[in-house]
C-alpha cells in the first residue's frame, strides 16, 4: 500500500503550515489514534484560492492532505467537491473501485489503502477537514 507517490508526499508535503489570510478553519481528529489536522481554506469568487494545514499524523493522512492541496487549489468549490466525492468513493470501495487518474491524479496512489479499512479514516482526515472548512465559509455549499 505504500506507493512511492505516498511516501514522496509524506516526506515532502505540499502546502503544509498554516497561512493567512483564510476564510474558515476546521479541526478534525481521528478518535482511534489521536491524529489531528487543522486546515484552513480561502475561497475567492467560488474558487479555492488557498488551502493550508498543520497537524500530526501517519504517512497516509499526511500524504493525502498534501495531495488534496494539489487537487483542489485553483479549482472551483464545485470541482473540488466532485474530486472529493471521487476520492471518498475510492477509499470506501474496499479496493473494488477503479480510480480515474484524470480526476484524482496522484490520488490514485491511495487505491491500495482502500483495502485496509482501519487506514481509510487516515486517508480521509484532511478531506473531512476541507469539507467542513468550506462549509464554514460564506460560500460554503450545502454539504450532506
Amino acid at each position: 500500500m505504500y506507493q512511492e507517490i505516498i511516501l514522496d508526499h509524506y516526506k515532502n508535503p505540499h502546502g503544509r503550515g498554516l497561512r493567512e489570510p483564510f476564510d474558515a478553519e476546521s479541526f478534525q481528529v481521528n478518535p482511534t489514534c489521536g491524529d489531528e489536522v487543522t486546515l484552513r481554506v480561502k475561497v475567492d469568487d467560488g474558487k479555492v484560492a488557498d488551502v493550508s494545514y498543520d497537524g500530526q499524523g501517519c504517512s497516509i493522512s499526511q500524504a493525502s492532505t498534501s495531495v488534496l492541496t494539489e487537487l483542489v487549489v485553483g479549482h472551483t468549490v464545485e470541482e473540488a467537491f466532485a474530486t472529493m466525492d471521487a476520492f471518498v468513493e475510492l477509499m470506501q470501495g474496499r479496493g473494488q473501485v477503479e480510480p480515474d487518474e484524470d480526476v484524482l491524479e496522484d490520488g490514485i496512489a491511495f487505491a491500495g489503502v482502500a483495502k485496509y479499512p482501519a487506514r481509510v479514516k487516515c486517508a480521509l482526515l484532511g478531506w473531512m477537514a476541507f469539507k467542513d472548512a468550506v462549509a464554514r465559509t460564506d460560500s460554503g455549499v450545502e454539504t450532506a
Binding site: 481528529v29 478518535p31 482511534t32 485496509y116 479499512p117 482501519a118 487506514r119
Partner: protein, 428 residues
C-alpha cells in the same frame, strides 16, 4: 438472502429439529424432551454455534480498534451481524445498537433521558421532569416497566398505564385521557409474553406522535416470531434479544430512529464510544458507536447474524404460520379440559405463539412439576409480569410457548400432561 421462500409451504420441522442437538436428549429418567419454553429462551441451531466457533477460531480480535488483519476481519464480521439484523427488522445498520439483552436496551433509553438534564442543548428533547408523564401498560414485562418507574423516580415525572380487558386485550377506552400533551414516552409491548396478545402498534404510535411523545416498543416477543419492520411500524425505539431468536446469549438490540440516536446523550461510557477525551471533559462518537462502550459482544453479533440468516431461509411468514397452527391446537386441546382456564385471548385474532393457563385446584408450580416429570418443559410463575397477573386475578400461570422446532405431537403431550396433573392432584 430473502424471505420469499414460498410462504404457503409449511416448515419442515423434522429437518429443523435435526439442527438442534439438544432436542434429542432425554430428561427425568429417559423422557424425551418436549421444550415448550422458547418464550423464555430459544434453543440454538448448529449453524449459529458453528458461525460463532468459526469466527473465534479464525478471525477473533478486538473490533473497531486494531489495524492488523485479524482486527479487520473481526470488525467486518461484527458489522455484518449488524447489517443483516438491520435488514431483518427494516432498519438501517446505524440505527441498531448492540446491547447485552433487551433489558439493557430499554434501560439505555430511560437513562439517556435522565442524562439529558445535564447534557447539551441538543439533548433537550429527551428531558423529562415533574409534570411530564410516561405511559406504559399493565401487561408489560418488568423489563419495560421497572426502568420507567426508575426514570420517574430519578426525574420526578409521573407514570401512567393502560389497563387490560377481561379477554386479555389492551384497554384503550381511555386513550385520550392517558396520552395527552403531558406525555413524553409511550412504552408498550408488541406481543405480551403472557397473554400472547399482539397490540395495535399503529393506534398507539399515532396517538403518541400527535402529542409529540416518543414510542418505545418492546419487540422481544415479536421479532423472533413474525415479520417486523420498524420503519413501517413508525416506532421511535424498539428493543429485542438475540437469545429468544436462535442467537447466542449476551446480545440484544436497541433500534432507534437515526435522528433520535444522533441527538441522544450516551448511557454507558468508556472506550470506543468517544470522539475526544481530556481529563477535563469528553465528546462522543456518532451513533451507533456512541452507545456501545467497551469491548462489544463480538462473536455474539456474528451468531445473531447467523440466526437471522437461519430465520430468513425459513421465512418469517412461515414461522408465524407454523406457530399459529400449534397455538390453535393448544387452545383447542386445553379448551376441551374442564377446569383449565386460559389467561389471554382464546381466539387466534392478533395473537402469537404461546398459551398461559391455570388449572383449577392445582397450583402452577405443581402443574409444572408434573409436566416436568413427563419431560415437558414449560414455565411457571408470573413470567416477569407480576402486575399483569394481579390484574388477571392470579398469582401465577403455566406458560407453554412455541417455536420453529415444535411439532403438533408436543402440543398433544402438553394436553395429556395437563390431564395427568389434574388426575394426580385429584381434581378431575
Amino acid at each position: 438472502m430473502t424471505t420469499t421462500t414460498a410462504n404457503s409451504v409449511p416448515l419442515d420441522v423434522a429437518a429443523i429439529r435435526a439442527d438442534f442437538p439438544i432436542l434429542s436428549r432425554t430428561v427425568r429418567d429417559g423422557k424425551p424432551l418436549v421444550y415448550l419454553d422458547s418464550g423464555a429462551t430459544s434453543q440454538k441451531p448448529t449453524q449459529v454455534l458453528e458461525a460463532e466457533r468459526r469466527f473465534l477460531e479464525t478471525s477473533n480480535a478486538a473490533v473497531h480498534r486494531g489495524a492488523h488483519q485479524l482486527a479487520e476481519e473481526a470488525t467486518d464480521a461484527y458489522e455484518y451481524g449488524r447489517a443483516r439484523t438491520a435488514e431483518f427488522v427494516g432498519a438501517s445498520p446505524d440505527e441498531l445498537v448492540f446491547t447485552k439483552n433487551a433489558t439493557e436496551g430499554i434501560n439505555l433509553v430511560a437513562y439517556a433521558m435522565s442524562n439529558a438534564a445535564t447534557a447539551g442543548p441538543e439533548a433537550s428533547r429527551f428531558v423529562v421532569g415533574p409534570g411530564d408523564e410516561i405511559v406504559i401498560t399493565e401487561m408489560e414485562h418488568h423489563a419495560n416497566l421497572v426502568p420507567w418507574q426508575q426514570l420517574c423516580q430519578r426525574t420526578g415525572a409521573t407514570l401512567k398505564w393502560f389497563g387490560v380487558t377481561a379477554d386479555g386485550r389492551l384497554d384503550l377506552s381511555n386513550l385520550d385521557e392517558l396520552i395527552t400533551e403531558r406525555t413524553k414516552v409511550v412504552a408498550f409491548t408488541h406481543q405480551s409474553n403472557v397473554l400472547g396478545t399482539i397490540n395495535p402498534v399503529r393506534v398507539l404510535v399515532d396517538a403518541a406522535h400527535k402529542v409529540g411523545a416518543l414510542v418505545v416498543l418492546d419487540a422481544c416477543q415479536s421479532v423472533p416470531h413474525f415479520p417486523v419492520n420498524f420503519h413501517e411500524l413508525g416506532v421511535d425505539f424498539a428493543a429485542f434479544a438475540g437469545h429468544k431468536m436462535l442467537a447466542p446469549y449476551g446480545i440484544g438490540v436497541l433500534y432507534g430512529r437515526r435522528e433520535l440516536l444522533e441527538a441522544m446523550p450516551p448511557f454507558l461510557t468508556g472506550g470506543s464510544m468517544i470522539e475526544l477525551v481530556r481529563m477535563e471533559g469528553t465528546t462522543f462518537a456518532a451513533p451507533p458507536q456512541r452507545f456501545e462502550a467497551g469491548t462489544p459482544m463480538t462473536s455474539e453479533a456474528v451468531g445473531l447474524g447467523a440466526a437471522v440468516d437461519y430465520l430468513s431461509v425459513l421465512g418469517m411468514e412461515r414461522v408465524a404460520a407454523h406457530e399459529h397452527v400449534l397455538t390453535e391446537a393448544a387452545l383447542a386441546g386445553l379448551g376441551e379440559i374442564p377446569g383449565v382456564r386460559v389467561v389471554g385471548p382464546t381466539d387466534m385474532k392478533d395473537r402469537g405463539g404461546l398459551v398461559s393457563f391455570v388449572i383449577d385446584g392445582v397450583h402452577p408450580h405443581d402443574s409444572g412439576q408434573v409436566l416436568d416429570s413427563l419431560g415437558i418443559a414449560v414455565r411457571v410463575g408470573h413470567h416477569c409480569a407480576w402486575p399483569l397477573h394481579r390484574a388477571c386475578g392470579v398469582a401465577s400461570t403455566v406458560r407453554a410457548s412455541f417455536y420453529v422446532y415444535n411439532e403438533l405431537s408436543e402440543v398433544d403431550a402438553l394436553v395429556r400432561g395437563v390431564r395427568e396433573a389434574q388426575r394426580f392432584f385429584g381434581v378431575a
